[in-house]
C-alpha cells in the first residue's frame, strides 16, 4: 500500500472535501460546480495510474509464462482503457445533467469495444469450428 501515492482513506477524505467544495460553489457559481467534480475525477484516475500499471505488468508476465499470445492480451487492455475513458466521460455528462449525451457516449464505447473484440470472437469461432467435425 505504501508504495502507491495515495491510500483509499486519503481518496475518501478528499472526495468528502470535494463534495463540500461543490456544495459551496453551487450557491456562489453554479456553472463551476461540475468543473470541480471533473477535476477530482481526473485527479483520482491519475493517482490510480501506478496501481493499474502494476496490475498490467503482472497480467502480461502471467500471459508470457502461460504462453498466451499478445494478440489476445492487447485487445483486452484496450477494452479496459476504452471502458475507463467512456465511463468517465459518461459520468461527467450525467453530472452536467445531460443524460442523453451520457448514454450516447456509452453506446459509442460499447460499439468501439465490440469492434475491437471481433477478432477474438472470430478466433474462438474458428477454434470451435475446427474441433466440431
Amino acid at each position: 500500500m505504501s508504495k502507491y501515492p495515495l491510500g483509499i482513506g486519503t481518496v475518501a477524505a478528499l472526495a468528502i472535501v470535494a463534495c463540500i467544495v461543490i456544495l459551496l460553489l453551487k450557491e456562489a457559481k453554479p456553472e463551476l460546480a461540475p468543473m470541480v467534480s471533473v477535476a477530482f475525477g481526473v485527479a483520482v484516475l491519475l493517482w490510480l495510474v501506478t496501481p493499474i500499471k502494476d496490475v498490467i505488468t503482472t497480467l502480461i508476465s502471467i500471459a508470457n509464462k502461460t504462453g498466451i499470445s499478445n494478440e489476445l492480451i492487447d485487445p483486452m487492455l484496450k477494452v479496459a482503457g476504452i471502458a475507463l475513458v467512456a465511463e468517465f466521460a459518461a459520468s461527467v455528462c450525467n453530472d452536467c445533467g445531460q443524460g442523453s449525451l451520457a448514454s450516447r457516449v456509452e453506446t459509442a464505447g460499447k460499439v468501439v469495444i465490440l469492434s475491437i473484440s471481433i477478432p477474438i470472437i472470430m478466433g474462438l469461432l474458428d477454434t470451435v469450428l475446427s474441433v466440431v467435425p
Partner: protein
Amino acid sequence: MQIDLIFKIAAIGILLAVINQVLTKADKSEIATLVTLSGVVIVLLMVVDLISQLFSTVKALFGL
C-alpha cells in the same frame, strides 16, 4: 498534487461571485457577465489541461 486544482476552482468561484455582486450593485451587469465568462474560460483551460494529461496517460497505459 492535483487536489490543488479543486481549491483553485473554489477560490475562483468565490472571487467571481463577489466581483459579480459588486458589479451588479454598481449597475454594470454587462461587465459582470464578461467577468463570469472569463472566469469560466480560465477554469475550463485548467481542467482541459488535466483531462489531456489523463487521456495521454491512459493512451500510453493501455496501448490505445
